[in-house]
Amino acid sequence: MKESPRDRLGKQQNDNQWRLDLARRLHDGAQQQLVDIIINLRRADQMWTERPEESRQLVELAAAEAQRALEGLRELASEVYPIILASRGVGPALHSLALQLPFPLEVDVPANVVPPELDETVYFLCYHALIDVPSHEEVASSRLAIVSTGSGLAIDASFEGNGEGSGPMRASLDSLSERVAAKRGRVELTAQSDRNLDLVLHIPPAD
């Protein structure tokens, strides 16, 4: 079964939005920081002999700015593609993601449950399920479990609410649903209350 034109369009819109966000973050982040670094270093160079103390301060500023740029790029690079996914596969990559999320995440991914050809698909769908769907300030903790079903994989993402939102926990499902549909799967919202948000991603086997 091929992906339908509608699925493909949804995926492209998602990808293009993602590219735009990425470009903006690079532009406002590391690019601007590198400009500031160049300016500070050039100014330091110009006043090196006459005003050594000020030059030294500018060099220090440049070093601090370079450190911030490095940290920003480090974060961005791991979002774009965590190297641990290429070297160790989806399980270790999800455990690594758990160390970086703004809320606790318990990962239950038995070894070999995800076929290697689905490693990347599953990782990025899990990533978007965790990042895009819930409202992070409402989440107290979360759990991600992947099981093999007769007809592919079921990715179970559940969020426990901290009760600070008004009404049921918010869920932004559009972009995730499009991504999952592009893989011929579907998203099922199984619980949505002020304390719980549970979804299951049904992923068919790879072609």
Binding site: R74, I83, A86, P92, H95, L99, P104, S141
Partner: protein, 220 residues
């Protein structure tokens, strides 16, 4: 800082400017640099041939450009467990550091690449690794300690106990922790006992065993 350390070092790094800078710093600080290689397969062959006291290597290296450097080093350690390992990395996330310590915590270190410019930090890490100790990057450990976790025993640690826990995870001995926090070794021992009791950790003998126990707890 001794300038005649006699510690024999091999470097694995594929970026030429960084590699030359690192070799220069190490020689300036009195380490004997046996050579530097920019490809993980060559690095592995050299480690087996030279059996240095310490290898300082980037995790990500050719030919595969994923974690080939780490794999080469772990492979070399299987036949030469006495080689100390200091991995340099761009990853703040502790996964690789934990893997390294879990493989064999004796004589292992993990530093973010930019720490090479903080010469005292680099020299301290090389020395600790060479003498069988553990040296994990303070920023990597801090990120691990500060990450959000479910309510639990961790919340009952006092601020001082948290600082002690961080220093244990970095691989410091009780004596070094005492020096750093300007308290007595006896006081550190009491903090350690409280931390172990509160978190339900087993009393791991040996500094490197307790590093692993603490890291395993922190990543839960």
């Amino acid at each position: 800082m001794s300038r005649v350390s006699g510690i024999r070092v091999v470097v694995g790094e594929d970026q030429p400017i960084f590699r030359d800078g690192l070799v220069h710093i190490l020689r300036e600080e009195g380490f004997e640099v046996l050579g530097a290689w920019g490809n993980a397969s060559e690095l592995l062959a050299q480690l087996l041939a030279l059996a240095p006291d310490v290898v300082i290597s980037d995790i990500q290296m050719p030919p595969g450009r994923t974690d080939d450097g780490l794999k080469a080093v772990l492979e070399a350690r299987r036949s030469h467990p006495e080689i100390g390992v200091l991995m340099l990395s761009q990853y703040l996330d502790a996964s690789y550091a934990i893997e390294l310590v879990a493989d064999n915590a004796r004589g292992v270190g993990y530093l973010l690449k930019e720490k090479v410019a903080e010469i005292a930090v680099l020299v301290d890490a090389v020395n600790r690794v060479a003498s069988g100790g553990t040296a994990l990057d303070p920023d990597v450990v801090e990120a691990l300690v500060r990450r959000p976790r479910k309510p639990g025993p961790f919340d009952s640690l006092t601020r001082r106990e948290r600082s002690v826990l961080e220093l244990i995870a970095q691989g410091l001995s009780n004596a070094s922790i005492a020096q750093k926090l300007e308290i007595t070794t006896g006081a550190v021992e009491r903090h350690v006992a409280h931390i172990y009791a509160k978190l339900g950790l087993r009393d791991g003998r040996g500094d490197h065993r307790r590093v692993l126990a603490v890291l395993e707890y922190l990543k839960q």
